[in-house]
Each structure stands twice: as C-alpha cells, then as structure tokens.
C-alpha cells in the first residue's frame, strides 16, 4: 500500500518540481516579448521565440491535415469493411501496433531518406509535417478503431435495416457517432508530435531562424528545437529564455490534453 503511494508520489513530485523550477527560472522572461520577438544571438535580453511558435503551428497543422484523414480512413477500412480475423487483417493489426512503438528517431531517418532526399522536399515544413504524420498515424488509427468499435452494433443494424448501404452506414452513422473518440485520440497524438525534437533534428529543422514560415517549403524551427538550441548556449540569459519557452510548450500541451479530456467527459455514456 505504502509502496504504491510512494511510487505515485515520485511521479507527481518530479513533475511538480520540474514545473516549479522552469516557471521560477523562466519567470523574468515570460512576457509578451517571447511571443513578439524573433530569436537573436547577440541580444538575449530581447530575444523571443516567435518563429518557433509559428513554426510549431505550421508543422502541426500540416501534420494534422495529412494524418487525420489518412488515419481515419485506414481505421474505417479496417473496422468496417475488412474481413475480420482474416490472416492479412491480423498481420496489418500487429504491424500497426508495432509501428506505434517505433522510436521517433527512426521516423526521422525515414523522413530524411524519403521526403527530404528522395522527394527532394529538403529541410522544409512539409518534410517535418509528413514525417510527424507518419509518426502519429498508428496512434490515430488505433484510437479511431477503438472509437468506432465503441459504437454499438445495433446502430449499424438499424441503419442497414433501413436499406442503407454499408458505406452509407459507415459515414452517416458510425463515423459521426465516433467523432468524440476520434477527436480525443487525435489531439493526444498531435500533442505527442508537438513535443517531438528528435526526428526534426535529423530532418534539419534550423535551430536559429529569424522569420516565420511563409509556405510549406519554407525553412522552419519548432519550440522543442528552439529550447534545445538555447539550453546548449552557456549564457545565463539563454537558459532563462529556454525555461520560459518550456513553460509555453508545456502550457500548449496541457491545454491540448485538457481539451481532449473535456471532449471525452462531455460525451461519455451516450449508450
């Protein structure tokens, strides 16, 4: 009993200490300049993280744009149309589970080889978005399938008994009924992608950049990369700046998780 409590306490305590530490340390720089100013090497006093914030938004938007429809359609196929328990189905299922467990750096290597080099997209927003989309795709597929499975069989039966086709039943009944679950899973998956630095380092996110992305082929940086870059710098001002940026990143992540939990609670017990 005590052991369980201590284990829990270790986890919670660490998180609280971490949050408190970065908040205190970053507090002097947690102001509007962080959002309005560009990074600077010479002027840490006035440097900001605007390009990293906009870069993150660009990358994550395109990640969602690619991963969400692909993941939902894949899940819809597996759950509603594929023959259940066939050998190929089981093979695909095991593979998706495994893909979800592949370290993100491996996706980085894949992205570098395929998107950056083979497709010659270079060090751009779209390369990062496509790579992160691959990274979160298994998670989106798995959570969408769970959401679809939670829709009771008798809703499908009711639709089919009215002369609806399987396709009409899937996109007019099952899919809309599963949207809250899909939204929750997708937000959690994207919040994982936002925090990723490893694959983007490989893909050549530029760690020092003083403009906002202006298109999908633009250079970019993201919050985790910016934090990584600043913590490397030995000057105290940059350490403070990094702490402040960490707070911003954590707040974004907490907000996303909060929204996911809120959607889940709001739509619980519908059946």
């Amino acid at each position: 009993m005590w052991l369980l409590f201590v284990s829990l306490a270790i986890g919670v305590f660490t998180l609280v200490v971490l949050l408190t530490y970065v908040t205190i340390k970053g507090w002097p720089r947690l102001d509007i300049r962080l959002f309005t100013n560009m990074p600077s090497v010479r002027d840490p006093e006035n440097a900001g993280a605007q390009s990293a914030i906009t870069g993150t938004l660009w990358v994550i938007s395109f990640t969602a744009l690619v991963a969400l429809p692909t993941g939902v359609m894949a899940a819809l196929y597996l759950e509603e149309f594929a023959r259940p328990n066939s050998r190929s189905q089981r093979f695909i299922e095991v593979n998706i589970q495994n893909l979800a467990a592949v370290p993100s750096i491996v996706y980085g290597i894949l992205g570098l080889a395929v998107f950056a080099r083979a497709l010659a997209l270079g060090q751009s927003v779209i390369t990062a978005a496509l790579t992160l989309a691959l990274l979160v795709l298994p998670v989106i597929i798995i959570s969408t399938r769970e959401a679809l499975r939670a829709v009771p069989r008798n809703i499908r039966d009711g639709s089919l008994a009215l002369g609806a086709t399987e396709w009409q039943t899937a996109y007019r009944q099952t899919l809309p009924a599963a949207i809250p679950g899909i939204a929750t899973g997708t937000i959690l998956a994207l919040s994982r992608a936002i925090g990723e630095a490893a694959p983007l380092l490989l893909l050549g996110a530029v760690s020092f950049i003083t403009f906002n992305p202006d298109g999908v082929l633009s250079d970019y940086t993201t919050l985790p990369i910016q934090i990584f870059n600043w913590t490397k710098d030995s000057r105290e001002e940059f350490q403070v700046l990094a702490a402040a940026t960490i707070v911003v990143l954590l707040l974004i992540l907490l907000a996303m998780n909060f929204v996911a939990i809120w959607i889940r609670n709001k739509t619980q017990k519908r059946w």
Binding site: A161, L162, T165, P176
Partner: protein, 284 residues
C-alpha cells in the same frame, strides 16, 4: 391500482377487434418459406421451416429461448447476411421471388422489409433526423417535413414530440424511442415490418401503446413479431407459429417449427402436445 386493469381491457378490445375477420387459410401470402434452414457455419440454428406469411396480418413467432425464432425473423430481410458464416438453405419467397436469388440486392429487400429491434436503437441524432434518415439514404431529396410528420403521427408519437423535433432522440423515454424506431421504419414505406421482441425492454404501459400501434398498423403493413410473451402473441396476432428447441440424433440443439395456425385456435386447441405444454406454462 387501476392501471393494469385499464391495460387489460384495452387489449381485450383490440383482440376481439382483430380476431373476427381472419380467414382460416392464408390466401394471399406476402412471404412463403419453403424448407428454410439457417446455418451458422455447420451449426443449424433452425431447420426445415415451411410457412406462409399473410398480407396485412400479424404473425407471431413464439417459443423458448434458443429455438431460432429471432434467427428466422432476420432471414426475412437478409440481416443474417451480416453475420460471418451465416447462410440459408431452402427458399424465402417474397411475392414469388426468392430473396436469396442471385439477382436480388439485399438493400432492396431491406427497403421493402423493415425491422424494429429488441432494444430501441435510435440513432444519436435529432428526432427529425431519425425519421428522415431512411428516405435520405434511399435517395429522397427536398423537404421531408410532411413525411416526418406523417410517419410520427402514424407511430402515435407526433403529439408528444412535435415541438421537440430538433432534440436528441436520446431524450425520449424507452417507449417513445421504440415508437420513433417504428416511425423511422415506416418512413421508407416498407410492405412488411419485422419486430424482434419490440417490448422486451419496456414497461407495461409503453408495451400497451406499442401493441395498440401494431394492431393499428396491420391495416397497411404485414407484421411479423417475435415475442417471449405469450399473452402478447395472443393479444395482437392473427396467426402464431410455435417453435421449440430440439436435440437431433447427434445431440445438437436446433430450432424447429412445431405448429402454425390461427392464433385463437393455436391457443385454445393446440394440436401438438408440446404447444399445449408451452402455452399452459408447463415448459419454457
């Protein structure tokens, strides 16, 4: 204390209203089952059923659990097709056409043969959208307001919901939901309505309403109802088919049709001793 009496009187009235005009033979069958068996893989849930379903009549399927009556019901609109491994032998003829024939689209069958389920399975949409869904997936365009009103009225629900059409169907009571499912079903203008224990999850008052509605709908629709409730079969149906679960030579349980006839005769003077045992409550 008055309520149960009221219900009984109500239903007695409906029974006497229907009992009189039923011909002894089904002259104009909508469905004719010939030697129908439904199998799940190698296991046959129900075997060798031969049975006519009369037009604008209410036919009740009764029998103990596991006798295959629900399985048989689902073969009238090919809902068993959706269960992997299920298949059917024999012929299910709808106005002379085998609905399991090579050129028959199960979608077309289900438009003609609607279904009401054991648990009210309203869609997670508004009341209006629940009724409009069937016509929409079947290609209806334009304003469906009149159709929605007509169907809800027909299902004796309009007066209760006319101001709440945009509200979620989940806000309705169980009995109202089941009437909504019936309204949804008649919105695609079927000829036959299958009902799989439609009152199993309802209280006596809601049950009485559904039973009234069934009798009322039988003037336009052919209804087949599966029920565990023998009184219900006696109250609402014109003909009754009694099924039982039997063991075959290999000791495998399967459903069998024991007796089929006019409800009054089947309940008052059953020809098979098994029917008599069941309806007198000695078995099942």
């Amino acid at each position: 204390m008055n309520q149960p009496n009221e219900i009984t009187m109500h239903l007695d009235h409906s029974l006497s209203a229907r009992g009189a005009s039923i011909p002894p033979e089904t002259s104009d069958p909508v469905f004719t089952l010939d030697n129908v068996s439904v199998l799940y893989g190698d296991y046959s849930a129900i075997r060798n059923v031969t049975l006519p379903i009369g037009r604008n009549e209410i036919t009740a399927f009764i029998g103990p659990s596991g006798c295959g009556k629900s399985t048989l019901l689902r073969s009238f609109n090919r809902m068993n097709d959706l269960i992997p491994g299920a298949h059917l032998t024999g012929t299910v003829a709808y106005h002379g056409t085998d609905i399991y024939g090579p050129n028959v689209d199960p979608i077309e069958v289900r438009r003609k043969v609607g279904m009401v389920f054991q648990k009210p399975n309203v869609f997670p949409k508004s009341i209006y959208e629940n009724v409009a869904y069937g016509p929409k997936v079947n290609g209806a365009k334009g304003n469906l307001d009149d159709l929605v009103e007509e169907c809800l009225s027909r299902a004796a629900l309009w007066n209760e919901v006319k101001d709440d059409l945009k509200k979620s169907a989940y806000a309705l009571s169980g009995g109202q939901q089941q009437r909504l499912v019936i309204a949804r079903c008649i919105a695609v203008k079927p000829e036959v309505i299958l009902m799989d224990e439609p009152c199993a999850s309802l209280d006596p008052l809601a049950t009485a309403k559904i039973e009234d509605l069934m009798v009322e709908l039988a003037s336009d629709y052919t209804i087949i109802i599966v029920t565990h409730n023998m009184q219900q079969a006696a109250r609402v149906s014109d003909r009754t088919a009694f099924f039982t679960a039997e063991l075959d030579d290999n000791g495998i349980r399967h459903g069998r049709l024991v007796e089929f006839g006019r409800t009054r005769e089947l309940f008052s003077s059953p020809t098979d001793p098994r029917t008599e045992d069941y309806i007198s409550g000695r078995f099942g």
